[in-house]
């Protein structure tokens, strides 16, 4: 029996920015605090997903109305709870030289802390800037999609705690249905800017789809998401080819240097 793929659908249109997911994640996974820090940017003092922050709520203040909304001044909030995308083709996984990053039976991407040796290659290979190496610990850490909870058949801490169900956890196929229904509903209500980010391979060929995908109300870059992410490994064959040519060049240069005139003939 194979376990069906699970994931997150994060509907940012209902997120209220309460940060319960951030706190629940820290609590469950026993992640250390990031210290007192005031960013001076919107209400977001977490700034970014980090090795010790596996959920991050972004606060976007816009001098612009959402369609279908009426406010006295042109203004709207965009809120989004960000997380590791558990890519279908994951840059971090394909880059990891130790095999520390594996795909679990739930089709999620998991870093085995006892294997990771802290080489830091996954850090530069994640197109979303998710995974990072901890300075004091020396290993790479990121969201596990609560692998330990899933093994027990319970949903991840962030989804469990989300009061508006902005974070929905479930089987990937179910999530896609929910997402499409929600998208239609929003469009029917006139919120035509709503769209789905990374739901499938067709929408996001660079990663062949995300297992944690999003309903967004603006362009991806407004949320600090890349518009066209790709798994770096996709173009690597060409680079190896060029290297082989260059290697042939170096070999030729060495032979020519050694055998050329002025050198020694056997």
């Amino acid at each position: 029996m194979t376990t069906p793929a699970t994931g997150f659908f994060t509907d940012t249109s209902v997120c209220i920015g309460c940060k319960a997911c951030e706190v629940a994640c820290k609590q469950w996974n026993q992640l250390p605090a990031d210290g007192d820090f005031f960013s001076g940017r919107s209400y977001d003092n977490t700034i970014h997903l980090e090795a010790t922050t596996w959920r991050h709520v972004a606060f976007i203040e816009r001098q612009q109305r959402l369609s279908g909304q009426s406010t006295s001044r042109p203004f709207s909030w965009l809120l989004m709870s960000d997380v590791c995308k558990h890519c279908e083709r994951a840059g971090c996984l394909e880059a990891c030289p130790t095999g520390a990053i594996v795909r679990t039976e739930f089709d999620t991407v998991y870093v085995q802390p006892d294997v990771c040796n802290g080489c830091g290659y996954c850090v530069v290979c994640c197109p979303f800037g998710v995974i990072n190496r901890r300075e004091d610990d020396g290993r790479a850490w990121k969201c596990t999609l609560c692998y330990d909870r899933q093994k027990e058949g319970i949903e991840p801490a962030c989804a469990k705690t989300c009061p508006t169900d902005s974070i929905t956890f479930g089987k990937l196929d179910d999530l896609k249905e929910i997402a499409l229904a929600r998208l239609q509903e929003l469009h029917r209500r006139g919120v035509t800017e709503a769209w789905l980010y990374g739901m499938g391979g067709r929408d996001q060929p660079g990663t062949e789809g995300l297992h944690a995908f999003f309903l967004l109300l603006d362009r991806p870059e407004a949320y600090n998401l890349p518009p066209d992410p790709y798994v770096p490994t996709k173009g690597v064959a060409g680079a190896w080819g060029v290297m082989a040519l260059a290697a042939a060049g170096m070999a030729a240069a060495a032979l020519a240097a050694a055998h050329g005139r002025g050198g020694d003939r056997k």
């Binding site: 996974n29 026993q30 294997v115 290979c125 901890r134 066209d228």
Partner: protein, 328 residues
């Protein structure tokens, strides 16, 4: 949260906590560099979109050392059986051995978790240039040790094995940098392997030129080095030209520490070539040229890392590059 006060058994509990309440500056240093002016580009408060490379100085240092090891391994194989170039071949074998020994040490020094270095050889993952590189480094190290021990009498397997491994060690680092999500490296991914390969030849010659050589040896080293230096210069020019396509990428390559190092690398390379071309014959000239080439090659590798960091810090570099690719 104090780890001493609570029993931790969850997913992240295996993490060691050095400072339970680290000062904010240590964790999120980036926002300080964000100007508070209004931006017309759309992004998230100008905050970094991707992560900066976490590598420290020992990684670009390794890139250099690995290049020298690879170039010497190849040259040693090419020189095999040449009676009057025996001493040069011995130097090359020694360099290849030293490089493949010091290299892994430098790499290990960068690892946050040194005790786990052996995990590098736990799997072979063809999709990861880092994994391919670790294996070829380990293999070439063994081969280089063997050929150092066997000296002139080394067999066909050792000779060709060392040469092949050397070529891989010299070039894979270029593939490694290009195969990332970093916009600057990614944009140059077809040039980087050529750059690293030619620069490896140049660095090998640079080191050899600083050694005592006779006329015959000097000629061989000079020829090998000239091909490398010319290739390196050509790749650097090509890179600067390709940068012009997306202005942010060019800016990341020019700005800050990376830009200074890049200019230094260019200056050292060019003056190394010029000194080489001076119409006088003297060991001093040769040594100066070798030293300049060496400085240039080292600066180049540090420039690449620093420019990569700069590119990662500015979200618009990633965004504009991807947007322009989508339009294409």
């Amino acid at each position: 949260m104090s780890p001493e006060l609570a029993l931790q058994i969850g997913e992240g509990a295996a993490q060691q906590v050095k400072r339970p309440e680290p000062d904010a500056g240590g964790i999120v240093p980036l926002w300080r560099q964000v100007p508070s002016q209004h931006r017309t580009d759309q992004n998230y408060y100008g905050l970094a979109l991707i992560k900066e490379p976490v590598w420290i100085w020992s990684v670009p240092a390794y890139f250099y050392v690995g290049g020298v090891a690879g170039g010497s391994a190849m040259l040693a194989a090419a020189l095999h059986g040449k009676k009057r170039l025996r001493r040069l071949a011995a130097w090359c074998r020694l360099l290849a051995f030293a490089g493949t020994t010091v290299g892994p040490a430098l790499l290990t020094y960068d690892l946050g978790k040194m005790s786990r270095f052996l995990n590098m050889l736990r799997v072979l993952r063809p999709s990861s240039p880092m994994s391919v590189g670790s294996w070829s480094l380990a293999g070439t190290g063994m081969m280089a040790t063997l050929s150092l021990l066997q000296g002139d009498r080394s067999g066909v397997v050792t000779r060709y094995g060392t040469a092949l491994g050397g070529l891989l060690v010299a070039g894979y680092t270029g593939v490694l940098l290009g195969n990332t999500a970093n916009p600057l490296w990614r944009e140059r991914r077809l040039l980087l392997p050529m750059l690293f390969m030619s620069s490896a030849a140049a660095s090998t010659a640079g080191v050899l030129q600083m050694m005592p050589l006779d006329k015959r040896e000097e000629k061989v080293v000079q020829r090998f080095g000239m091909v490398g230096k010319a290739g390196e210069a050509a790749c650097m020019v090509a890179m600067q030209r390709s940068d012009a396509a997306v202005p942010e990428v060019g800016a990341a390559a020019r700005e800050g520490k990376g830009g200074v190092l890049w200019t230094a690398a260019k200056a050292a390379l060019v003056s190394g070539i010029l000194v080489e071309l001076l119409p006088v014959r003297s060991p001093l000239k040769r040594k100066v040229s070798g030293a300049l080439t060496t400085i240039g090659a080292i600066c180049l590798r540090f420039a690449l890392l620093e420019a990569g960091k700069t590119a990662a810090r500015e979200p618009q570099t990633t965004i504009n590059l991807q947007r322009s690719r989508m339009r294409r």
